[in-house]
């Protein structure tokens, strides 16, 4: 498909690259503990980018039998309006692609009955009076092919599976929602599913008692899930795009130590077993890991081909594209690395960080993350799921409280790193104890 399209483009344009992707999903959904639905979805699409007269254009299609000529014509029409760009398509040698496992037979071959079995196991383990348990299991198998007119080709297959557990407990007018997930390229083992059960149960049990929230500038433990609001500003600021546009607070700060010296953050497309891992990006650039923050110092920004060309640097292999629209910057797997953390891992709520807290919070979920002025680093959110910590113990769940702070200020000095590092989607992090977080209550 790709070859035919690129052959068709040759001679009509100065250069082109393309992505073809076919995805098959199988899913089962349990609602209130009952298996209610099973579904499949099949989708294939083709995305083409061309350079014509130094200008860039794109076109995409989900047609079953794509008309290569029509797609090239549409991309050329798009290029006529496009900006000029000095972009060179890469042609890496096939040897430069890291062989990483992205496809797991067990996942690809898992039967509908096997997916139902996993869901049922969770339903049975999580069932308790007064709680509504919703479970979904979704398995995906995808084939990807990328190529360009410089001669580069990349092909790989991926598998992915997501298991989500939602427990809603309504008692009178109190609504408690606890959520967790398993996401991987390989099927979860029974131990993985048991860990999911324990995680949900731990957080549910600790939430049964409702206590008054504290108020003031307090120590707050952000769990891996609760950290989203703190990490989002960094993800935006470390994108080569916002740097180019002049809206990143980190622009021009490469080499400066702006964060706690124990903190490193990397983008790693080569982590085995993760659904976001891949040997090559969507623009034929070989995958490699990128140190975004190294021991507190701003390392490298992430780029795709276009932003790299504009910034006169190299793509970091973070090009991502869908069927429609042009390639853009996307992170793969984000990993937090802490210097000098050798302590044995634990799965306790709070990651072992609450022992020294006289009065504070554990924040596991915030509401409305991503909806403020994110790039500035400032955040302010009502708590979705949070616990009060008093004299080193969790005393109960707090409601009707809001936490606020600035990610850049808070990450300058991290109180401590938790021992509960884990994957959450495409991010691996432990809990972080951050000091001086504003907590408001009614």
């Amino acid at each position: 498909m790709i070859d035919r399209l690129l052959d068709n483009a040759r001679g009509k344009v100065d250069g082109a690259d393309a992505l073809w992707r076919r995805e098959e999903q199988t899913s089962v959904a349990f609602e209130s503990g009952r298996l209610k639905a099973a579904g499949i979805s099949e989708e294939a699409g083709l995305n083409l980018r061309v350079l014509a007269n130094g200008r860039m254009g794109v076109a995409g299609t989900t047609a079953a039998k794509p008309d290569a000529k029509e797609l090239v014509a549409r991309a050329r029409a798009s290029a006529e309006l496009g900006e000029s760009i000095d972009l060179a398509f890469p042609n890496p040698s096939p040897q430069s692609l890291s062989p990483i496992p992205t496809f797991f037979d067990r996942t690809a071959n898992a039967s509908l009955a096997e997916l139902i079995r996993m869901g049922r196991l969770l339903v049975e383990r999580l069932a308790q009076p007064g709680c509504q348990v919703n479970i979904s299991v979704q398995r995906e198998v995808a084939d990807t092919a990328v190529g360009n007119t410089a001669g580069a080709r990349g092909e790989y297959r991926t598998t992915g599976i997501g298991v989500t557990a939602d427990v809603t407990r309504i008692a009178g007018d109190d609504v408690l929602m606890v959520y967790d997930q398993y996401v991987g390229a390989d099927l979860p083992t029974n131990a993985d599913l048991e860990a999911l059960v324990r995680s949900v149960e731990t957080r549910l049990t600790a939430a049964l008692t409702v206590v008054t929230p504290p108020e003031g500038a307090l120590p707050v433990v952000f769990t891996p899930a609760g950290l989203a609001a703190v990490i989002l500003p960094l993800e935006q600021a470390l994108s080569g795009k916002t740097v180019l546009q002049g809206s990143s607070p980190l622009a021009g700060k490469v080499g400066e130590t702006l964060f706690d010296a124990r903190l490193s953050i990397i983008d790693d497309p080569l982590t085995p077993g993760r659904p976001a891992s891949r040997p090559v990006d969507d623009e034929c650039v070989p995958s490699r890991s990128t140190a975004l923050v190294e021991r507190g110092t701003v390392g490298r920004f992430v780029y795709d081909l276009e932003t790299a060309a504009r910034a006169k640097t190299q793509s970091t292999g973070n090009g991502r594209r869908g069927v429609f629209g042009k390639p853009h910057i996307g992170y793969t797997n984000i990993l937090f690395r802490m210097a000098g953390s050798a302590a044995a891992p634990i799965s306790d709520l709070g990651g072992g960080l609450i022992g020294d807290i006289a009065d504070g919070l554990i924040v596991d979920d915030l509401i409305g993350v991503g909806q403020g002025n994110v790039i500035s680093g400032a955040f302010s959110h009502p708590v979705g799921l949070a616990y009060r910590v008093q004299r080193g113990e969790i005393t109960g769940r707090v409601k009707d409280a809001a936490v606020a702070g600035n990610a850049y200020d808070l990450l300058k000095r991290i109180g401590e790193f938790g021992r509960d590092g884990r994957w959450l989607g495409a991010r691996w992090s432990p809990s972080l104890l951050l000091e001086g977080v504003s907590v408001a209550r009614r």
Partner: protein
């Protein structure tokens, strides 16, 4: 196409079968700063099959290759039969509607050159950049589409709908040294090219606001009397109550049903709330929902009392109520679920104005515009674009980072005054639920006063 779908229906061996096919023509233009990001035309198409058998669950298939349709009907049936249920899924009775529903295209976007769309957006984007050299970045986008949707089911429904949509939005980023602020304008209409020609001044206003916010202090955290402007009041009712009125949240959960018993008081008599998918010309408007049910105006709260909720055919059957035309899917890639359409707080007494709402407030916050909102049912957030302090009955200084923390049982009941200045806020973006985002919805409200609401920030 209808014949092709009818043919596939006939071949289905399931007790109930529905088939949808969608073909969407769209074009998009985007600027980032002074640079054009993209200008593209796309065509997307695919199909959706959902079947039900007695004593079994839903079998669902979605696909981009329409040649696969007969095969997908068979596979959906197999999937349904793999799901055994003790308590069967029932669908509320619905008249089988047939016919074509073609919404006004108001200047068919398919007939407008991409270069003209670029020119239009360039004008709006340029208007933001021209406000100040402190506007360091912008994100502007124009997107239009015309969607053709065919729907048939084994009860005899056969519909063709033509749905246009056009969205223009712009974010202006103002920066002075380390301080970065943004202003956001977004217009989303179920209309066409003619309706998006005249918004230059709005884009200038948001860019100026991003600049003004550079000097504004963060709001202090705490509980305040709060006035919501029309836009934020609309987002508020969507998050605070709209999602709870979606019956898929209560229909399988006895405790939730008890909490949301019809007849329960949620607000003062001044509060009236509804959802109207049949309102004329709004972005959430549809003649029929994605199960072929006609849309309607559904009262949710009348004089403070819960009187209704939003249904699909399945949730309506389970609760012994009637379908309301709220089963919606963002595309053929997803099954329809219970969603809002155009959700509103009805206007208060005519003649009640904004000034009447603030005159007796000693210290409060006037929260304006909306960056978004999210709900966890009892607790929810709604994020203002900007705000002003209210001091001694008057609007005072500009403040930023105004994020409100709401509680269903406390915040709704503390709405004590509602102005008469109702407007629909036709924004772009949309609503997200169950992995389906963005669904076109509209919200409408007048100015609303909440006696006391929690705002996050330093205390």
């Amino acid at each position: 196409m209808k014949d092709r779908l009818a043919q596939s229906l006939k071949q289905s061996r399931a007790d109930y079968t529905e088939i949808g096919v969608e073909r969407t023509w769209s074009s998009a233009v985007a600027f980032r700063g002074r640079r054009l990001e993209t200008a593209t035309v796309s065509e997307d198409q695919g199909g959706f099959v959902r079947v039900l058998n007695t004593g079994c669950g839903w079998g669902i298939a979605s696909f981009t290759s329409l040649d696969e349709l007969p095969n997908m009907v068979t596979r959906a049936n197999e999937l349904s039969r793999a799901v055994r249920l003790d308590e069967p899924i029932r669908l509320a009775a619905a008249a089988a509607h047939t016919g074509d529903a073609v919404l006004d295209l108001d200047g068919d976007v398919r007939g407008v050159a991409l270069a003209d769309k670029k020119k239009l957006l360039d004008r709006y984007n340029g208007a933001m950049l021209a406000v100040s050299d402190k506007i360091v970045d912008t994100q502007s986008s124009y997107r239009d589409e015309v969607s053709e949707v065919w729907y048939v089911n084994s009860e005899g429904a056969s519909l063709y709908q033509l749905r246009p949509e056009v969205v223009v939005s712009g974010t202006a980023i103002g920066r002075r040294n380390g301080t970065i602020e943004k202003g956001l304008e977004s217009i989303g209409l179920r209309k066409g090219w003619n309706s998006v020609q005249d918004f230059e001044s709005q884009f200038r206003v948001v860019a100026q606001r991003a600049i003004d916010l550079l000097d504004a202090p963060r709001v202090r955290g705490g509980a305040y009397p709060v006035i919501l402007d029309n836009e934020l009041a609309g987002v508020f009712i969507h998050e605070a109550f709209g999602h709870l009125s979606e019956a898929d949240f209560v229909y399988e959960n006895p405790q939730a049903r008890e909490m949301m018993t019809l007849g329960r008081r949620f607000g003062k008599p001044v509060l009236n709330v509804g959802d109207n998918g049949a309102a004329k010309g709004l972005r959430g408007t549809l003649p029929y929902d994605d199960e072929g049910t006609p849309t309607q105006d559904t009262a949710l709260i009348k004089e403070g009392i819960l009187v209704g909720r939003l249904h699909s055919r399945e949730t309506a059957a389970k609760l012994g109520e009637r379908p309301t035309g709220n089963a919606r899917a963002i595309s053929f890639r997803h099954p329809p679920i219970v969603r809002m359409t155009n959700t509103y707080i009805a206007p208060g007494k005519q003649g009640v104005r904004f000034n009447d709402l603030i005159s007796d407030i000693k210290l409060g916050v006037y929260a304006c515009g909306a960056f978004g909102g999210q709900t966890m049912l009892e607790n929810f957030s709604f994020t203002a674009g900007w705000g002003y302090m209210i001091r001694d009955g008057k609007v005072a200084e500009l403040v930023k980072d105004v994020v409100l923390a709401g509680n269903l049982f406390q915040t709704l009941d503390r709405i004590d005054h509602i102005a008469g200045d109702f407007t629909w806020n036709q924004m772009g973006g949309g609503c997200g639920k169950g992995g389906q985002f963005p669904l076109p919805v509209t919200e409408g409200a007048p100015h609303v006063r909440i006696e006391e609401a929690l705002i996050g920030g330093d205390v």
